[in-house]
């Protein structure tokens, strides 16, 4: 019946246009009569309309309040106002209903009175729900289109604003349609209506000033939205490994898959870091810098030349690998290189700083995003309900996994019931406390032991280096890396055993376990750094003290040696053409940065090998053994002792995090590290996906990964912060080696910035920078930041409290 009313309405409109504002004639039109014949209420209303204005209003009021309880308030007030205001109220009402009463407004402004608007309104209300409306609307569209064009009446600002409001509401409706729990048919019809409304109206909204501009703006917005949507689709298509991860999800559930999603995310970050270091540091030097062999720092020394190409040397990252763009030492300290005048030292410095900055930004951003999802926090008040409603993982598609999941859910129900009953029982508090203290003590001992072991081993390796590595076998050469990797492998298992003493709830036990492993890796890494740094500092102090002398000595040696080539005479002036000396023969100064870079690269590579070998032996061989030897073994291998391994999520995630920490630490000294890491992550993904599908079984106790997500991110952020400290320390307080690297010859590495400011920027820029770095300006700025942090903290606390209050009220 809405359609009929619309039809009638449009007809009415047309009639009015044709015959002026004589409402009385409406009834005379054949269509109206036809509509009358169908005996609808509305026509009763329309009849009333033909009465005097006042009575008409009363009639409308009566009918409208009867028919539209919802808008009762508005309607009552409507009839009491003048037509102008009534129109506006209509507008308000219409904004709650989805149809094109815009036409009515437009028609209305030509002074047609409330009459047909009311009729249309009633029509429109029903019309919203019906698809057939569309046809009528088309008719109306054409009708009102001709209307609005023929009557160019000025619209008031208010009406314009109201119309804009309605269009915005319609647009909002379109945007939130997918959120409504309706069937697709209904959504489609509502969408079509709303879209027609917006389209039709928007075209005419820009009446008066700026119409063209408005239309242009609208078109650009539409194009922009389409572009955004296409871009989103493109981005989704670009995401690698979707099918692999989906397969894992369906077999193992979402918690194992979350590790692989994390791995993929890290891969993305490393790709960006790789892009920075490769594109802005390695490639320019390789293309535009002086080639290999032109400078002493770029050439393998004569003494090492014989073994420079051996695989063993290359695997160890010395020989040709050391004297290449892969390491710090190769880079020349020329301020600009090549015809592009590329500022190499500046670029090196900025890429180092930029990588760290980018990593901070992206980790913090991901943390903030996760924090939004993590609303509930540590709420245990809905324990059972959550187990009931949220424990099934809908991603599981494999019947075996489903069976496992059923079993684990049943166990968790039974455990929770028992736990709840026992929670009131008196426990032997003292024994538990004693055991927990004992467990923590043992864990601390383990940590201390592992830290000391690493320190000891690093010192030993320095000694070996002093005495010459050729005298020692493979073990001595790779002692440090192997020891660190082995510690990383065995200590977590030890922690696991220790934690069985503690008798915690599994989730809390997991947190303790993660915390201890974290402390282990951190302790190991830092002990390693400290041991290295000790050496470097020693050397640095030595250099600082002797550097000038050493420089002089080395340079003197060089002149003596040149002189020997001149047959005994030391040339007084250098007007004579310099004799071509083979750079390989020139005596070299020490280069601690390259050494540090090499250590990190070796550590990464050995870590990678250890992981792969562990997977192959620990998972694959074990699975093969269990599968094939089960037939001829005394007990059931599959259920008994070795059985198939489970995928250790937390161990793997932590390994990934610490590996990334090493990359962040070392990439300043070895630009090749991000490249190696990209390769490592890429192969890791394939290897681990295969290993998981082939050798692992789904876990018996399933821990939801979601809560731990932000924990891992927080650890990543912490590691990032700690990793940048050594690099920052060396940049700021240790002088760079005088004979290698892009900063050679400077007292401090950051001087490259001031040098750039001097040479490449206009002088006033340097002055401004000088003022800006004045402590007088920086201290107030820091104060301001501290104050704003305090303020934000205070407001967030107050929001949390308000939140809690509301929660309590709901309960």
């Amino acid at each position: 019946d809405g359609s009929d009313d619309n039809e009638e309405g449009s007809e009415v409109e047309n009639e009015e246009t044709a015959k002026g504002t004589d409402k009385g004639r409406k009834r005379a039109t054949p269509r109206t009569r036809r509509a009358h014949a169908r005996g609808r209420d509305r026509h009763g209303d329309e009849d009333d309309d033909d009465d005097e204005f006042g009575t008409r209003r009363a009639g409308h009021r009566r009918h409208r309040s009867r028919r539209r309880g919802r808008a009762a308030g508005n309607e009552a007030s409507d009839s009491d106002m003048e037509p102008e205001k009534a129109r506006k109220n209509h507008a308000n009402q219409k904004s709650k209903e989805d149809d094109e009463e815009e036409e009515d407004e437009k028609g209305g402004k030509s002074g047609k009175g409330k009459n047909e608007k009311k009729g249309d309104k009633k029509a429109d209300k029903k019309g919203k729900k019906e698809k057939a409306n569309k046809k009528k609307k088309d008719k109306k569209k054409s009708g009102s289109g001709s209307d609005s064009e023929s009557e160019e009446e000025p619209i008031t600002e208010e009406e314009l604003a109201k119309l804009k409001e309605e269009v915005e509401e319609k647009k909002k409706l379109i945007a939130t349609l997918r959120n409504k729990p309706w069937k697709m048919k209904k959504k489609l019809s509502v969408l079509k209506e709303a879209q027609l409304f917006v389209e039709k109206f928007e075209g005419a909204l820009g009446k008066g000033k700026g119409k063209k501009f408005y239309a242009y703006k609208v078109m650009m917005t539409k194009k922009w939205m389409k572009f955004q949507r296409d871009f989103e689709n493109f981005k989704t298509a670009c995401i690698p490994w979707e099918m692999k991860i989906k397969e894992i999800e369906s077999h193992f559930g979402s918690s194992v898959a979350s590790y692989f999603i994390f791995l993929r995310w890290m891969y993305g970050i490393n790709m960006i870091l790789f892009g920075l270091t490769f594109g802005l540091v390695m490639v320019p030097e390789a293309l535009m810098g002086k080639p290999y062999g032109s400078l002493p720092r770029k050439t393998v020394p004569r003494a090492e030349e014989a073994t420079a190409m051996n695989f063993a040397t290359l695997w160890d990252f010395s020989g040709f690998a050391q004297y290449s763009v892969l390491f710090y030492g190769y880079y020349n300290n020329q301020r600009t290189i090549g015809w592009l005048k590329f500022r190499m030292p500046l670029s090196y410095f900025l890429v180092g700083v930029g990588s760290i900055g980018y990593s901070f930004m992206i980790v913090t951003r991901t943390m903030a995003k996760n924090a939004n999802d993590d609303g509930g926090g540590d709420d245990t008040s809905f324990n059972f309900s959550w187990k009931m409603f949220t424990s099934w993982d809908y991603l599981i598609g494999n019947p075996e996994t489903a069976d496992n999941k059923f079993a684990s859910i049943t166990t968790s129900f039974k455990e929770a019931i028992v736990e709840e009953q026992e929670s009131r029982k008196e426990e032997n508090i003292h024994l538990t406390r004693f055991l927990r203290v004992l467990a923590n003590f043992l864990a601390l001992c383990t940590l201390a032991g592992s830290g000391y072991l690493i320190f000891f081993v690093v010192r030993r390796s320095q000694q070996f280096a002093l005495e010459g590595l050729e005298n020692y076998g493979w073990w001595e050469r790779n002692e440090v890396n192997t020891v660190m990797s082995l510690l990383g492998m065995f200590c977590p298992t030890l922690f696991d055993v220790i934690s069985s003493l503690e008798n915690y709830h599994p989730r809390i036990a997991l947190r303790w376990q993660l915390g201890r492993i974290f402390a282990l890796f951190l302790g190991n890494l830092y002990t390693f750094i400290i041991a290295l740094m000790d050496e470097i500092n020693l050397k640095a102090r030595y250099f600082l003290f002797f550097s000038l002398e050493e420089e002089k000595i080395v340079k003197y040696n060089m002149t003596i040696w040149e002189a020997s080539l001149y047959n005994g005479t030391i040339p007084e002036n250098s007007t004579a053409p310099p004799i071509q000396v083979d750079p390989a023969d020139v005596p070299r100064g020490p280069c601690w940065e390259t050494m540090v870079g090499q250590e990190f690269v070796r550590l990464t590579v050995s870590d990678m090998m250890t992981t792969y070998i562990t997977i192959l032996i620990g998972d694959f061989l074990r699975a093969v053994f269990v599968r094939f030897f089960n037939y001829c073994w005394c007990w059931d291998l599959e259920y008994g002792f070795p059985s198939y391994s489970e995928f250790d999520i937390s161990g793997n995630v932590l390994g990934l995090i610490f590996n990334q920490g090493m990359i962040w630490m070392g990439s300043f000294y070895a630009p090749c590290l991000p490249a190696i890491n990209v390769f490592r992550l890429h192969t890791s993904m394939y290897l681990q996906c295969w290993a998981v599908m082939c050798c692992n079984v789904p876990q018996e106790r399933v821990f939801k990964a979601s809560r731990s997500n932000n924990f891992y991110m927080a650890m990543l952020l912490f590691i990032l912060f700690l990793s940048t400290l050594p690099a920052v320390y060396t940049i700021v307080s240790i002088p760079p080696s005088f004979d290698c690297g892009p900063f050679s010859g400077k007292t401090r590495m950051f001087e490259v910035i001031s040098e750039t400011l001097e040479h490449d920027f206009p002088s006033w820029f340097g002055k401004v920078f000088g003022y800006a770095s004045n402590p007088g300006l920086i201290l107030p700025f820091i104060l301001l930041m501290v104050l704003s942090i305090y303020y934000l903290n205070a407001t967030s606390k107050s929001y949390k409290e308000a939140n809690l209050e509301l929660k309590k009220k709901l309960q």
């Binding site: 379109i174 349609l177 997918r178 959120n179 409504k180 729990p181 069937k183 697709m184 048919k185 959504k187 489609l188 969408l191 079509k192 949507r229 989103e232 689709n233 989704t236 298509a237 989906k246 999800e249 369906s250 979402s254 999802d373 609303g375 509930g376 008040s381 809905f382 324990n383 059972f384 309900s385 959550w386 009931m388 409603f389 949220t390 424990s391 099934w392 993982d393 809908y394 991603l395 599981i396 598609g397 494999n398 019947p399 996994t401 489903a402 069976d403 059923f406 079993a407 859910i409 049943t410 129900f413 039974k414 019931i417 709840e420 009953q421 939801k704 979601s706 809560r707 709901l810 309960q811």
Partner: protein, 192 residues
């Protein structure tokens, strides 16, 4: 290849509208179309857009095969007039949209409620909860809970979630409980 073929069978403006109305991207919609048409016998594939697929076929999808709520899911999303739980392509899209990664927790919890409401009466009463528990503990006899345990469990659940203490859980109580769970959105997910 296949993508191109299926793309031509959904008119472009309709594809755009589906993108507006669901949480799925264009590739996901096309993939859904492909998988949907594979459920039909060869002769009917051309017309996949307007055919209904019987429930037995839908349940052969690997994503639903192992799901204990498979029948409820088909029932809730089906718009079949004959009440035979058959699904059209639009129903299928609706289902995938609700279960997709980008769907809001609101709409997920709304549909989860309807899925758990076994007797379709608009509330979760004891019977519904009992059936829910039985679904979750699997089909084997040894894995079911004893009646004492079941009583205890349902008692605990009603204590936690039934705010107005009327012995049943209605939609708003359900949404209140479930929206606080950090695991809900990530577990209530099906991806083709």
């Amino acid at each position: 290849g296949a993508m191109g073929g299926s793309a031509s069978l959904i008119p472009r403006d309709l594809l755009g509208e589906y993108q507006e109305l669901t949480f799925l991207s264009k590739q996901e919609i096309l993939l859904a179309y492909k998988r949907f048409s594979e459920l039909l016998p060869k002769e009917e594939r051309e017309n996949a857009y307007s055919t209904r697929v019987p429930k037995s076929q839908i349940l052969t999808l690997p994503e639903l095969r192992a799901n204990p709520f498979q029948h409820r899911i088909c029932h809730v999303f089906s718009t079949s007039e004959t009440r035979d739980d058959s699904m059209s392509f639009e129903d299928f899209l609706d289902m995938l949209s609700v279960f997709s990664d980008s769907a809001t927790s609101d709409i997920k919890s709304h549909y989860a409620f309807r899925i758990f409401d076994f007797d379709d009466d608009g509330t979760l009463d004891r019977k519904d909860l009992e059936q829910l528990v039985n679904c979750l503990t699997g089909q084997g006899e040894e894995s079911r809970l004893s009646s004492a345990e079941m009583e205890q469990l349902i008692q605990n659940i009603l204590e936690e979630s039934d705010i107005d203490k009327d012995g049943t859980i209605n939609l708003s109580e359900f949404q209140h409980v479930v929206s606080r769970s950090p695991d809900f959105a990530s577990s209530f997910k099906i991806v083709l």
